[in-house]
Every structure is written in C-alpha cells, then in structure tokens.
C-alpha cells in the first residue's frame, strides 16, 4: 500500500477510501466515450476539513487529485489521471439554507442539480440551468464545467446563477468568493475564475445560488420545415422581431428519422428540420409572443406549426427534442456527443457544413441542439472498435472545430475542454490567452496536483 493511501485511511477511515479493483474500475471513466484510466484510490470527504487534510497528503506525497461529482461529464474533465486520488464529492450533499428574502440557496457541492430545481420550485422560485444530466449531475460539477442546458438563450448558464463559492485551494487554505449582494465589486471577481475551471484550480465545496421568480405560464410549439435553412431563417426572424423565447431547439434530418423510429411522435420523415419553441413569463406576453412566433414560422416556410393547448400536449411536443439523445444513442455502439458552438447567425451555415463533412468522411453524424444560442450537438454514431472509422471521426471533428472557429465560434459551448478537446484549445483561444491560463494555473497550483493535464498541459 502506498504511503499516501495509508495516510488517507488514517484521515478518513477505511470505509471512505476505496482501493480494491472492483471498486476502482467503476471510477475509471466519466460520461465521455472511449476514455478510461483507473485511479489509485477513490475517497469520499464529508467536511471541508477532510478536504484540507487530503490536500496536505497530496501535496507532501505529490499525488494528483481529480475531483469528481457524479461522473457525467462529456469531455473527460473528471476522468482519473494515472495514480491519482479521485475526490468524490457525492457525500457532501447538505442543503444549507434557502433564503427566500434574498432569493438564494446555499448548498454543498455534492447536491444533485435536480434537487436544487425541486427546492426552488417548492418555494415558487426557479433555478433555470438544466443540463441533460440534471437528474444525477452534482451542482459542483455544473459549476466546475459551467454547464448550460436548454434555456441558455433567455436565462443564461450556470455561471449566471452563482453568487458565491467556497473553495479549498491547493495549499489547503479555504476561501469564500462572492457574496449575497446583487452588486459587489470588492476586488477581482475571483469566483468567475473558478467557474468552469474543471477542477484544475481548486476544490469547490459550497455554492450560493441565485434563484429567480418562477415564470407564471409557458407555451410550447413545434414547427416542421422541409428545408433546414428555413428553420434557420425562422430563428433569425424571431430574434429580429425582439422576441427571446426560453427554448429554441432544433433537430436535423438524421435526428428526426432516429427519433421517429424510436419514439413514434408523428414527425414527418421527409422533414428537413424541426424546431421546438417555448416562451414563458406573464400570460399576456406569452400569448402575444406565441402568436407572433407561429406567424413568423409560417411566413418562413414551416409546413406545420402545432401549438400545445395543455400541459400534457406541451410535454408530448417536447418529447421529440427530449428523446433526441436517447434515439441516437441506441443506433450505434459508440455515441460521441460534441458541442461546437457558433454565433447564432451562423447556425444554418454550420449545420450545412457538418452534413457535408459527414458525407465526405462517410460518417453518420446527427445534429441537434440549441439553435437559439448557437450551441450545436453534432453527434457521431460510430464504433470505437473500428480503428479506421475512428480516424475519420477524428479528422471530421478537427474540420468541424476549425470551421466553427472560422465562423467566430468555439470548440465547446457547455461540455468543457477536459481531455477530449485539449488539442483543439490552442487554435480556439490563441497562444497569448493560453499563456495567461497557464500562468494562472501555476500561481494557484504551483505543484500541479489539481486535475493535471486537463484543459492544457502545464
């Protein structure tokens, strides 16, 4: 047994330090396809003091620490590195304080995001970020990856709801960043440095979240188009009409076929694109916006627009979009979900390019995603055992990211860089920016023990 494990056991007890292969193999991956690495051990802290102690051990023994929530990430951010300690946060899951006067919620970072949404809901409030893994992802993971979701266009992403965080730094000091105040300019906005830092700068232990009043009503509609361009133009026209719907999601032709085969929701198989549109807020405004958007969709070539008349019907319409990932995931042994993102004016161009790349590389790529905020999910339906096909996947991915950057976009909208997108980062942000990231990392983690080798190599 390595000295670090002996020390960890004396710190946490045998129950909270896993070292057997049967325990470690299930922690050798996160939600990212085709990446595996077994850690040296997995530990479960329960208090901030536990984590401070673990950092002391890691620092003296020079053992890397990979912080992990529920392991649903899609870029390898919480994938173990060789011989690391996996610091699993799921047992630090206390809800500390719901403050209805200041519209905030203080939680430990192991709390499941869904639970946060439910707590807000029972108080008549709303926590908008809803990543695809909301039912099991931890809020700590969401903050570390700055997760998005379906409501980005109107409500923003996780970062927009973080008022404060408690962080344990690599040297073991515990800092609180941010405050209860809506306005607070005392010093650098350091919390923003940690949001989206993917566990490379510190270990986030508490989060103070902002909640907002729950919108009173919501209206859902589904528009079907023969041509993908028409859907793109509809989106542009909706934005140009000064309407910000809360959801503006689309499915491309390949996705429509898979969804229809799987869920039988009545999508026409010859459709080129489907848009799911939702608007929420004050009843009068919602009514007016829904009416306007229906008109706009029809003017721009939608051959059918269905407006839900009840909550039940709304759920049914949303099924098409919600089941997109499930429908695609069962088509092939390996599903690689990407999140290239472009300014929303360029969405149609980007989708066309993805379709062209798929054809040229003889790959199956289905695209769906958040048309309203330009965040696309080109999804590769492939097989990791087929080496030559995987090479073509790599090439296609490179081309897609290059093109996204050319359009003024980014390589990742909401999944993070982790390991999966590390090699694309220099092109995406440029050498000077990358240097700044490196200098920041060196300052905060001089020994390089926090999730080393993620985002960029030191």
């Amino acid at each position: 047994m390595s000295p670090s494990i002996t020390e960890l056991i004396s710190l946490l007890g045998t129950d909270r330090v896993l070292t057997n292969p049967e325990d470690l193999i299930p922690y050798s991956f996160d939600g990212t396809a085709a990446l595996r690495q077994q850690p040296q051990c997995v530990i479960f802290p329960k208090t901030v003091e536990d984590i401070v102690g673990v950092l002391r051990v890691a620092t003296t023994q020079r053992v890397p620490i990979v912080t992990r929530g529920s392991g649903t990430g899609l870029s390898g951010g919480s994938l173990p590195v060789k011989d690391c300690i996996v610091l699993c946060m799921v047992k630090m899951d206390q809800v500390l304080k719901l403050d209805e006067k200041n519209l905030s919620l203080l939680v430990e970072t192991g709390v499941i995001t869904q639970k946060i949404a439910e707590i807000a809901e029972t108080a008549g409030l709303f926590y908008p970020p809803d990543p695809g893994s909301i039912k099991i992802s931890t809020i700590g993971g969401n903050v570390a990856e700055n997760s998005g979701g379906l409501r980005g266009l109107k409500y923003g992403v996780t970062r927009d709801y973080v008022m404060g965080i408690e962080v344990v730094l690599a040297d073991g000091s515990v800092v609180w960043l941010g405050s209860q105040c809506v306005k607070d300019v005392a010093g650098y906005s350091m919390k923003d440095v940690f949001i989206g830092s993917e566990g490379t700068l510190g270990i986030i232990t508490k989060v103070l979240l902002k909640l907002i009043p729950k919108p009173r009503v919501k209206k859902t509609m589904l528009a079907t188009f023969t041509q993908m361009d028409a859907a793109g133009e509809t989106v542009s026209a909706i934005i140009a009409a000064k309407i910000i719907p809360c959801t503006l999601e689309f499915l491309d032709k390949v996705t429509i076929r898979c969804v229809e085969e799987f869920a039988h929701v009545g999508l026409p198989l010859d459709a080129g694109a489907v848009l799911l549109i939702e608007t929420d807020g004050h009843p009068a405004a919602v009514e007016e916006e829904a009416h306007l958007m229906e008109q706009i969709a029809r003017q721009h070539g939608a051959y059918s627009v269905t407006v839900a008349k009840s909550a039940e019907e709304a759920t049914k319409l949303a099924t098409a979009r919600r089941s997109a990932f499930s429908a695609l995931a069962r088509v092939a042994p390996t599903t690689i979900l990407e999140d290239a993102t472009v300014p929303r004016s360029e969405v149609a161009k980007m989708i066309r390019f993805i379709q062209e790349v798929a054809l040229r590389h003889q790959l199956r790529i289905a695209t769906f995603g958040h048309m309203g905020d330009g965040n696309l999910h080109p999804t590769f339906l492939t097989d990791e055992r087929n080496a030559t096909e995987m090479e073509r996947v790599e090439d296609a991915m490179q081309e897609i990211f290059d093109f996204a950057i050319k359009l003024g976009g980014t390589i990742t909208g909401e999944h993070g860089v982790g390991i999966a997108k590390k090699k694309f980062l220099p092109d995406a942000i440029g050498d000077q920016s990358l240097n700044l990231l490196r200098r920041l990392k060196t300052t905060l983690d001089p020994l390089g023990i926090l999730n080393p080798g993620k985002i960029f190599d030191q």
Partner: protein
C-alpha cells in the same frame, strides 16, 4: 476457467459496449441510491463485466457478491437512453459466477440445490411443500410454535424472515380451473399460465384471470401441471435449467391446446414471470427443435392487462364498494415488460374505485425474487420506503400484479399493523364482473 468459456466473453461485445456510461441509470438504481458507490450502480457493474470480458479482471468473490447485491429490478433499463440489455448481462454474469464456483460454500450450495435445483424444478414436490406449509399454517401448529416462543429460538436471520412466510392457498389452480373453459360466444383462444408462487399462494387470482378472460369472450386452455417459468433459475445463474423449464412449459401447453400458432395469446398474470416468459425465444434461439416454437411463444405471450388493452377492455356494469386505491408497479411488469398504463386503465375501468398515485410507484419493494431472503437488510429498507409511500396515499387497497410483490407487501403491512389490503387488479375487475350477476 478460461476466458472464452465465460458467457460474458462469448457475448457479442456490442451488448457490453452499448453502455456509454452516461450515468442516467444512477438515480433510478435502489442500490446506488443507498450507498452512492459506483460499484453498486448499473454502469459500475457493467464496467466490471466489461473488465472480465476483456480479460482484465477475473471473476472474484467481490464481483460475485456485487452481482447478488443487484436487485435485478431493471429500473436502469427504463432509464437507459442507449437501450442496454441489462437483463441479459445480469443473467450471464450470474451464470458465470455460478460456474466459477467462487461463492460456493456448503450452506449456500445446499439451499441452492434444495430450492433452485430441486423444489422449483419439480412441480409436484413444490405443491407438496405448499401442502405441508398449508397444514402447518391452518392446523394451529404455527400459532402454537409462535406462542411457545420456539420461533424466538431460531437464529436471528431466520427469525426475522419467519413472518414473511406467505400464506398458502387452500386449493391449487387446477382445482379451481378446468382444462378448457369456453365462453358463450368465442372470439379468441388463449393459453393460461398459472405460475408457481401464484398457484401456491394466490390461486384465486388465476381463477379471477380466467373469469375476466371468459368475460372477454376468450376460450381458455389451462394445462394441469405447470412448471416454474424458469425465471428463478435464469436470475440465479442456472441458464441450462431455465431452458429445461422453458421446453417443458412449451410442450405442456402444446399438448393441451395444440400448435401455438392456433392460439391468439398466451396469458401470464405475474409481472416477474411474464417478463421472463417473453424471453423464451431468445433463451432457446440455438435449440434447433425449439427455436421456432419458442419464438412463436414469445410473440404470443401477453400480460393479462396488456391483452385486455389489445382486445379492448370491457367495462363491468357491477361496482366495487367505493375505495381509495393505489397501484404498486412490479419491476418486471413496468421495467421488464414496459407495461405501465394497462394495469392503471384496468383499475380505472372499475366503477367505485378512486386511483391515487403513490410516489415512486415504480421503485422496487425489495421482494425481487428471493432477494428478501438473500439480502434481508436492503430488502427491508426498500419495503419500509414503499410502505411509507402507500400510507401517504391514504389508500385502503394497494393493487399489485406480481405474487412476489404482493407477498412482500402483505407481510410488511401485517407487521406494521396496517389494515390496507393487497389485491391483484384483475381480482378487482373479476369481482366487479361478478357483482352484476
């Protein structure tokens, strides 16, 4: 054991690879929910199976114990976006564990031999066991032993289980149901499977099922002596025995009702059995003599609620006394067979009943085959959670369509001193049909 002789290694690798470890199974898995350890989760278990198939890990005792800690409730397969066939992986893994002998010890070997290999493969012996238990229960001997404190002398593990002994019915199904029963006007011909637990402790549910089928103009063929469907064997690592049971049941129904293609349906009223019975086609796919017949069997096999939904359920003119009712979903009916609406529709068809949904209705009650015997602690926790949800609805009846669940709930309710009754939806429907006459 060489790697290639393992079921897991021989399996088409894409079944294992289909798991993309997204984690969406985690919140639905009762064992992960309890421990928050990945090893106790579906994707964790699949990763271990994959390591074994890849030759990176041997079948170890820890792996064996893990696979028997899994309830096999299949809640994960409902949550899985990628449609991973967890049921098959679960059965193959347990079969590999059994053939490796890693968990073998004299006590376990004896219990497995007695139950899985002996009693449940011989229907006459099963009935004889049932008969003995019945006389023990009605003769007053059981009460006497309990009163004298003899039960208290049993080892703790047995003592805790003793109240869970199901109450055995007075008559078996073949005393209540004729070989062939015909309605006045025949629209369909169906085979009727009476099960073994259902036959032993709830034979009246089988009678009720036949009555409901007759009320829907089905001619019903019920073989006299039926065999365990084999789910007990398949779920406990004895796939060969499961195949033996499947062949016997197919033959037995054919002998009474003729070739299966002449039947419109084969009816099961037990969620757990139905889920396995539907799998005969896959189980016997490599058996030259049976593959086609088994495929036909799987195609015809319908859960009773499912069948009523297909042919159009008839509304009984009779009423039930007004009762508040809640529905507990058998795991293998809702997750195994994906049947969730028809049983509820059955209950809604009955005038007088008010259906109130309970929280987590599709969460395992802890019965899980013989899980309440092998893992009593976890089972008890799940039962308590379920009982609380039942209580919260304020219902006077809880409907359940699987004998294992019913026995578990009855024992739990009895111990808690609750007056809530456990009924099969079809028994309630049958009662409503009868009350008009």
């Amino acid at each position: 054991m060489t790697e290639k002789s393992l079921n897991l290694a021989r399996l088409d690798y894409s079944v294992l690879q289909q798991c993309m470890h997204c984690g969406l199974c985690l919140p639905t898995c009762p064992t992960y929910d309890a421990s928050k350890l990945e090893r106790n989760s579906p994707r964790g278990r699949i990763s271990l199976m994959r390591a074994i198939a890849d030759g990176e890990m041997d079948i170890t005792k820890a792996f064996g114990e893990e696979m028997y800690f899994c309830l096999g409730c299949l809640a994960c397969s409902t949550a899985c976006p990628a449609n991973v066939n967890y049921a098959e992986l679960f059965e193959l893994a347990r079969a590999d564990i059994e053939s490796s002998g890693i968990l073998a010890n004299p006590k376990r070997n004896f219990i497995r031999w007695l139950t899985v290999k002996f009693i449940f493969t011989h229907p006459l012996i099963l009935r004889m066991t049932g008969r003995l238990l019945y006389f023990y229960q009605i003769s007053g001997l059981e009460r006497l032993l309990r009163k004298m404190g003899v039960i208290a002398l049993l080892p703790r593990s047995l003592r805790d289980l003793e109240p869970f002994t199901p109450r055995v019915s007075r008559h078996f199904s073949d005393a209540l149901i004729k070989k062939t029963e015909a309605p006045s006007q025949r629209l369909y011909r169906v085979g009727m499977l009476t099960g073994c637990m259902q036959d032993l402790i709830y034979s009246h549910v089988n009678r009720d099922t036949v009555d409901v089928l007759l009320a829907h103009d089905c001619e019903v063929f019920t073989p006299r002596l039926q065999f365990c469907c084999g789910s007990l064997h398949a779920h406990n690592g004895e796939l060969e025995l499961a195949r033996v049971m499947a062949r016997r049941n197919i033959t037995s129904l054919e002998t009474l009702a003729g070739p299966l293609d002449k039947l419109d349906a084969i009816i099961s009223n037990a969620g757990g059995c139905g889920s396995h019975l539907k799998n005969y086609g896959h189980l016997l796919q490599n058996d030259p003599c049976f593959s086609a017949r088994a495929a036909l069997w799987s195609e015809k096999l319908k859960d009773i609620h499912e069948w009523l939904a297909i042919i159009g359920i008839r509304r009984p003119t009779g009423l039930c006394s007004p009762e508040r009712i809640t529905y507990h979903e058998s795991c293998h009916l809702c997750h195994g067979q994906k049947i969730t609406k028809p049983p509820r529709d059955t209950l809604r068809t009955i005038a007088g009943l008010k259906l109130v949904e309970m929280s987590e209705s599709n969460w395992c009650c802890g019965s899980a085959g013989i899980y309440n015997i092998t893992q009593p602690k976890t089972s008890k926790k799940l039962l308590d959670r379920k009982l609380q949800h039942i209580k919260d609805t304020g219902a006077t009846i809880v409907a359940s369509a699987n004998p294992g669940c019913s026995a578990q709930l009855e024992a739990g309710l009895r111990q808690a001193g609750s007056s809530v009754k456990v009924m099969h939806p079809i028994s309630l429907l049958a009662a409503a049909f009868r009350s008009k006459q």
